[in-house]
């Protein structure tokens, strides 16, 4: 009961703060927002449809599908993407949503592993995330995640690369400013995986991290690496209360 009250109070506090924050969606042109909002014109829906088919597809020696264990995604997966990354008991470390799906493949379906940022994994992640479209981001309160969130915060504020810049230099201190012609967003991970016009395809949050690190001429980490999961945990806690967009469109 006490825990629930505390969580509720926390939820209310973040909901109030949500008004001071701006998502990438709110910074986009009316045309791009309309493209995202309309199922028929949102290119990300192609990946969602692919993911829906994969959800039902039997895999591995036992011929088991995701649906075989989880049933209707609309029920079992509602809110999951808004809560991840979460603690994985078996490995004693946090996993992001794509990591969890990849683990389900190998552990429960006995199928071959799916690579982070591979098309089938992006499609499944997009389909699972779709079940949380519009829900407020609600980070997992598991205290075992707290040191990881702190690692992520340290990474976010560390100067890196030949340009000697930290994520926070742009996304905390200069959000709303312009880097050349590009408006700088607050870096809320509200819409991943997302269809990015510049990529001409769906891509995950860890790919975005890689883009920004390469931009400051730093060495990117690997997609799915513990460092990126830590960064994701920090950004999700920073974005608590903001609505999830699935699938998002970005320029």
């Amino acid at each position: 009961m006490i825990l629930r009250a505390a969580l509720l109070a926390g939820g209310l506090a973040t909901a109030a703060a949500a008004e001071d924050r701006r998502t990438g969606y709110e910074m986009m042109s009316p045309e791009l927002r309309a493209m995202q909002d309309d199922e028929m014109s949102n290119p990300g829906m192609l990946w969602v449809a692919e993911g829906a088919a994969l959800w039902e597809a039997p895999e591995g020696p036992a011929g088991r599908s995701c649906a075989g264990c989880h049933g209707e995604a609309a029920q079992s997966m509602a809110g999951v993407a808004a809560r991840y990354p979460a603690w994985d008991e078996a490995s004693g470390a946090p996993v992001d949503l794509s990591g969890r799906i990849a683990l389900c493949r190998t552990r429960h379906q006995g199928a071959e592993a799916l690579e982070h940022e591979s098309r089938p994994l992006l499609a499944l992640a997009a389909y699972v995330a779709r079940q949380s479209d519009g829900r407020p981001i609600a980070p997992d309160p598991d205290p075992r995640l707290d040191p990881w969130r702190e690692t992520g915060r340290v990474l976010f504020t560390a100067r890196m690369g030949q340009l000697n810049l930290a994520c926070a230099n742009c996304h905390d201190d200069h959000a709303g400013g312009r880097l050349g012609a590009a408006p700088i967003p607050e870096a809320h991970p509200t819409g991943y995986p997302q269809y990015r016009l510049q990529w001409e395809e769906m891509g995950g949050l860890h790919r975005r991290f890689g883009n920004c690190l390469t931009g400051i001429r730093a060495k990117p980490f690997a997609a799915g690496s513990p460092d990126y999961v830590a960064l994701e945990l920090y950004l999700m806690s920073r974005a608590a209360g903001l609505p999830l967009e699935a699938p998002a469109v970005r320029p």
Binding site: A158, M160, Q162
Partner: protein
């Protein structure tokens, strides 16, 4: 090696409390060429200047706004002051977001492609500084 050659000049600059004096010694024997400096500033991907600064070259239609407008900067700062800010703006403001264009001090996780290299060469710094010094009065 470049860094070693530069160290005495920087040490001297740091020793003087009035940091505004900058780096009086040119980094190269050949004097800075303002036309080449201007061409480099126009090349946004190479020099990066217009990602953060307006007031440099009217040909760049959407300069960024993370740094101050540099219109007339040649009236406000001397050549040695300009040189110091290009070499390493941290000498003026330790928390600056302006990248150190000719220093490797304290960098971490530099990508393989850029490992061990400064953003601009000594001659490029001289050329850009010479161009900035020509920015007087209103816009170009």
């Amino acid at each position: 090696m470049r860094r070693l050659a530069l160290a005495p000049a920087l040490a001297l600059a740091f020793a003087v409390p009035a940091m505004a004096q900058g780096l009086p010694e040119p980094l190269t024997a050949a004097p800075g060429d303002p036309a080449r400096g201007r061409a480099l500033v126009l090349d946004q991907q190479r020099s990066l200047c217009t990602l953060c600064h307006a007031g440099l070259v009217p040909q760049v239609p959407f300069p960024g706004d993370l740094g101050p407008d540099l219109t007339g900067v040649g009236d406000r700062l001397t050549l040695p002051e300009l040189r110091l800010r290009l070499v390493d703006s941290r000498a003026v403001n330790p928390d600056t977001i302006m990248p150190p264009f000719h220093s490797l001090d304290g960098l971490s996780r530099v990508g393989a492609r850029w490992q061990g290299a400064t953003i601009l060469s000594a001659q490029e710094v001289e050329n850009v500084a010479a161009f900035l010094a020509t920015l007087k009065g209103g816009s170009e």
